[in-house]
Amino acid sequence: MALTIKTRKLVHRKAWEMCTPAPANTAAGSFVVSDKFNIIPNSLAFFVAGYSNIYRYDGDEDSWVQIPNSGLAGTFGAGACGEIRGLGAMGGVFTQTATGGAAGVINTNRTIVRNLVDRKIRVIGGAGLGFVGKIKSNTIGANAIITVKNANGTDATQVFDATTQYQIFSGSLWVQGAGASAGFGVYDLATNAWTLRTATALTWGVDGQLVSTLGSANGFATGTATSATSTTLVHSTKSWLSNQWANHQVRITKGTGAGQIREISSNTGTTLTVAAAWAVTPDSTSEYIIEGNEDNFYLGGNNAVTLYRFKVSTNAWTTLTPTAARAGAMGAGATLCWADSVTNWDVDATTGQPANHTQGGTQMYRQNGRYLLSFRGGGTNSLDVYDIAANTWISGLSYGYMNETFTTGTASIDFDGMIYLQKEATGRIFRFNLDRWTLQSFAYNPQPQGAVLVGGKMFMLPYQEGGSELLFFYTLVHTSNILMRMLVI
């Protein structure tokens, strides 16, 4: 199968299509998120219209189905936000521990309610460490038993037991609530169940953005270790910038210790120091990849400068204390997007260092995965950047065509090095090109809008075939159930 795309800009103008309307109107705080990395089958998105009316949208079918009540605390409204993840979160965690097993079989303590055949599964600890394959079959109901197969479809022979720690790419939806004592929780697709997680204990409102730095995205650096200790991995030919990989994760993909994932606490030019000791110390056969830290979520908004970080593994929030505080609060219409796949933002192949990218006299780097970009909102055109590696803010960056301002009702989404912004209820859509560092005109949504509402209303679904990719840009409408899409040309 191959897809040849012959569309040409100017010749072929972008055009809108009407999709099946959502089962509910958008309301204050309602938002939509999608599987933009195309990890879950059927081109998945979720529309969170409220705590109890949440719907799954299948792009492949252009249809909707309701999912269970979230049960989150607080009152749904402005500030609610969420994120979709490829990793399943049975019981509220990504990493599951088996209760037993055998060759090619993993026993669980989870109540799986659906067939997970062909979902990716990987073992990151214990017996079977390093196994990466697919689910061959699973039982339905309590204490489900999973039979796995190799990536090529043959039966797996690895032996698993009660020490096996595994992750399944079956999908999960994470939601930050709103109002007093706003709740936080996750919906897991495999178990069709919500798990409430530790909340921030804040009264949450105005606007909100929940962002994850998922490891399933592009890797940012790869190589083969030259040596390692129980808490380090050394690649002697590298010349990384000091601590440029802090708060990222390193995953061993091949060789000794394959399958292990560790958070990077610091790095020198040649050495990564990991936050937790290796269970199996890598050696010179170990190939690695440095990725976004899939354990982390970042939460911003609430008309404040404070940024919060949630760790799935510990079920705990941290109020970040950056070296330089953000210069302005994140108001209504603010955005928060992870810059993870910007064209030309790769590590320089010659020096091993990211190219210097100076903005407004402040140094930042063209390093994918390191920054969260945030338009401040609140009627301003201000752009601030959070440096994940250095835990600091770079505020008030200048950029091209920075005349547009954003406030209540502005929606945003990032995809392939672009941040798409739909200005309030005007239907005017821009995109911020991170490589060119400029705001660009993108599209106009002619659909009449209702009363302006806080909340994310845009999502992207990619269609991939034979190395080619089509992007479909979707948007809901303010105070309406209308869903429209557009092929990005």
Binding site: K6, K14, E17, M18, P446, I482
Partner: protein, 107 residues
């Protein structure tokens, strides 16, 4: 008294022989023709001085047709299908994407 019309006998051999009808039959024929013309005229669209067509749309249920409204805006037009006719231009925009889809080759 018979009269003779100039109506040709289409089924004839081409000799041009006339058909003989009575005055009563002619009257009945004219009445029938008048009835048909009246019926057709009743169903023809009425135009105003600017050649615009006036259309009426029922707003009551079929079981109790009691109200009609002249279609002067999209709100009245909604009554056709019970939906929001204001969206019609946008629904109709969907076929416009074909010019782009035609440039995609799936092999």
């Amino acid at each position: 008294m018979p009269i003779y019309s100039s109506i040709s006998n289409s089924g004839g051999s081409g000799s041009g022989g006339a058909t003989e009808i009575t005055q009563e039959e002619m009257r009945q024929t004219l009445e029938t023709l008048g009835y048909f013309l009246g019926s057709i005229l009743e169903k023809l669209p009425r135009l105003d001085v600017n050649d615009r067509v006036a259309a009426n749309v029922e707003t009551g249920s079929l079981a109790s047709v009691s109200t009609v409204a002249t279609v002067t805006n999209m709100t009245n037009l909604n009554n056709f299908g019970g939906g929001n006719a204001a969206l019609m231009p946008y629904w109709m925009s969907s076929p416009g994407i074909q010019h782009a889809y035609n440039q995609l080759e799936f092999v």
